[in-house]
């Protein structure tokens, strides 16, 4: 970056973008902490608030786990095998990123309601409407592409010859997967799970359609905002953002340190 004629305008534009993300976050902390600290304390001790945050974190973790469980084999197949319709499968998995989430909620509600294709089948022992499973299903739907794409990239980054060598050394395909492919892709898998978990926590529209109750944090925040306005919704928002930031930082640094000893 020697030529200032290019560098200067690029840096300027970059600064604007970073401020665009940073300023609202800085602002909410500044306003809440300096002008309404008691409101924050009140929200932090309000069971409705902390229960909704916990529900968001917990349900989204379940969704991320489901994405990991079902998405890992799919990602591996997409990374390693060639078959007719492979691109179609990959694009189907991407669909949740382009479908409006309110529409996703409606479509999911269509098959997971009490008499829907899936909901009707299991309604004797599993309820999706206004229940935790419904929240998890909505979160999984919108976050799945983040996991699958990241995991696929991870498996693609593993040299297939390492798997070949493992086989010649005497390992079965299963043990090769768990001893070579999986550990070498693990940082991508973890990154994918974190992204998908974060995406799940933030989901409002799809969740609100299938399960308005019990209220997740975004539903509760939206509820308070429409009923009472900015001042009432801000403390819960701040708490949710704080918990997300802390958790992300911890997980990211864990993902980094996980592989730094050999990479």
């Amino acid at each position: 970056m020697k030529d200032i004629r290019l560098t200067a305008p690029f840096v300027l534009l970059a600064i604007i973008l970073v401020l665009f993300v940073g300023a609202p976050i800085a602002n909410i902390y500044g306003v809440q902490l300096l002008q309404d600290f008691s409101g924050l304390v009140k929200a932090a001790t309000d069971p409705a608030v902390y229960q909704s945050i916990w529900l968001s974190v917990y349900a989204s973790a379940l969704a991320a786990f489901a994405a990991f469980f079902f998405g890992t084999p799919l990602a591996y197949i997409l990374a390693r095998k060639d078959f007719p319709g492979k691109n179609l499968v990959a694009r189907i998995i991407d669909l949740p990123m382009v479908i409006p989430h309110i529409a996703a909620g409606i479509m999911l509600y269509g098959i997971f309601n009490r008499s829907g294709m899936v909901g009707g089948l299991v309604n004797n022992f599993l309820l999706f409407e206004d229940a935790l499973p419904g929240i998890v299903v909505a979160m999984l739907f919108v976050s799945l592409p983040f996991y699958v794409n990241s995991a696929r990239e991870g498996f693609e980054s593993v040299d297939p010859r390492l798997e070949h060598v493992s086989r010649t050394l005497g390992q079965t395909p299963w043990r090769t997967f768990f001893k070579v492919s999986f550990p070498l892709a693990s940082s991508h898998l973890l990154t994918g799970a974190i992204l998908s978990w974060a995406r799940g926590i933030s989901e409002y529209a799809a969740v609100a359609i299938i399960a308005y109750y019990p209220k997740t944090a975004p539903v509760l925040i939206r509820d308070r905002f429409t009923s009472y306005g900015l001042t009432s919704s801000r403390p819960a928002t701040l708490l949710l953002v704080t918990i997300c930031l802390i958790t992300f930082i911890l997980l990211w640094s864990f993902a980094k340190s996980n592989e730094s000893h050999w990479r």
Partner: protein
């Protein structure tokens, strides 16, 4: 250690744009067998097919006395070393070596791993990760990993191709020593003729997916089966001719531009005549020497090839000479010279139909 032979019978593998065709060869128990061929000849694919990483379309692969066509790689009792080593980056040296021992439930894996690490002089690298190793060190770890559990067959894919010249030498010496010590049947793929000569007991030449010739080092380098093999193994003079006279093991062969004498068993018929360029002497006048052949000619060109100069002569011969000779005889284009070579330096092979 229980070395086993390897036999391929009409092995065929079609990869669309590339095809291994009817490859048949046999590496005997304890052999050091070289597969020599130019880049892109299908050497790695052949090796991967023997290892079971690829499934052949046709033909048989016999390891020991088993047809392993439907046997997965983990049950073929082989060791495999890739050109760029393919060490597991998340495992240390000793963990890499332990990998195969543990997979095969070898008793006392740790002791066995340490034994082979000692054998290859790697104890100082035991706990290092692959990214911290040099090329030569990585190569030795990859070999250690492949022989730790004493496979019946060791498959080496261009094991020295990525190394600098000095390291190459030492790795070759190490491979020769190991083979002597372990007597493991070794199939070693290379594009390097020098390597094939140094290490190979027998050599197969592979070109464009076909095994062209299988033989001893002497066979391959002195009696290549056709022009393509000849030019690949560095026999610059391939002449077509006909035996016109034969007496007392000496054949007189007419190659068009001139006649030459050769010591051979070939008594008649159309033949290929091979003459290595370094076996031809050049002088500026006819001399009486022990060489039975002295052929006059005019120099077409003199070109510098590093250590030697190549002299092309209008009688069809290519010769290698030193700088000293170039200066001494003032070799240059248009000069009339005599090219002399012994009758024993000429290799004769019946031209096959």
């Amino acid at each position: 250690m229980n070395p086993t032979g390897v036999k391929l019978e009409d092995l065929t593998k079609d990869l669309g744009e590339f095809r291994i065709e009817n490859a048949s060869l046999e590496a005997y128990k304890g052999d050091y067998f070289m597969i020599l061929g130019p880049t892109g000849a299908g050497k790695t694919i052949l090796l991967e097919t023997i290892a079971g990483i690829r499934t052949p379309d046709d033909g048989r692969i016999i390891i020991g006395d088993r047809d392993v066509r439907n046997v997965p790689p983990e049950d073929r009792n082989i060791g495999f070393v890739y050109q760029d080593y393919a060490l597991f980056p998340h495992l240390t040296t000793v963990e890499n070596v332990l990998f195969g021992l543990e997979a095969r439930n070898v008793p006392n894996p740790r002791a066995k791993a340490e034994e082979v690490i000692d054998l290859l002089n790697l104890p100082h690298l035991t706990d290092r990760y692959p990214r911290t190793l040099s090329g030569g060190e990585s190569q030795k770890v990859a070999v250690a990993r492949a022989i730790a559990y004493r496979p019946g067959v060791l498959l080496l894919d261009e094991p020295t191709a990525a190394l600098d010249p000095q390291t190459k030498e030492s790795v070759r010496a190490e491979l020769g020593k190991l083979h002597e010590e372990l007597e493991v049947t070794t199939l070693h793929v290379t594009h390097d003729q020098a390597e094939a000569k140094i290490l190979g007991e027998r050599i197969a030449i592979i070109m464009a997916g076909k095994l062209k010739q299988i033989g001893t080092v002497d066979d391959i380098f002195n009696k290549p089966i056709d022009r393509k093999v000849a030019s690949f193994v560095g026999v610059e003079n391939v002449l077509e001719g006909k035996v016109v006279k034969f007496a007392n093991q000496v054949a007189t062969i007419d190659v068009g531009n001139f006649q030459l004498k050769a010591i051979t068993d070939v008594e008649q018929g159309p033949v290929y005549v091979y003459l290595r360029p370094e076996d031809i002497f050049i002088s500026d006048q006819r001399q009486s020497t022990s060489a039975r052949n002295t052929i006059p000619g005019t120099i077409l060109s003199v070109s510098h090839l590093g250590q030697v100069y190549r002299v092309r002569v209008d009688n069809g011969l290519n010769c290698f000479v030193t700088k000293q000779s170039v200066d001494e005889f003032d070799l240059q284009q248009g000069k009339k010279i005599f090219a002399a070579f012994k009758a024993t330096a000429v290799q004769v092979r019946l031209s096959h139909t």
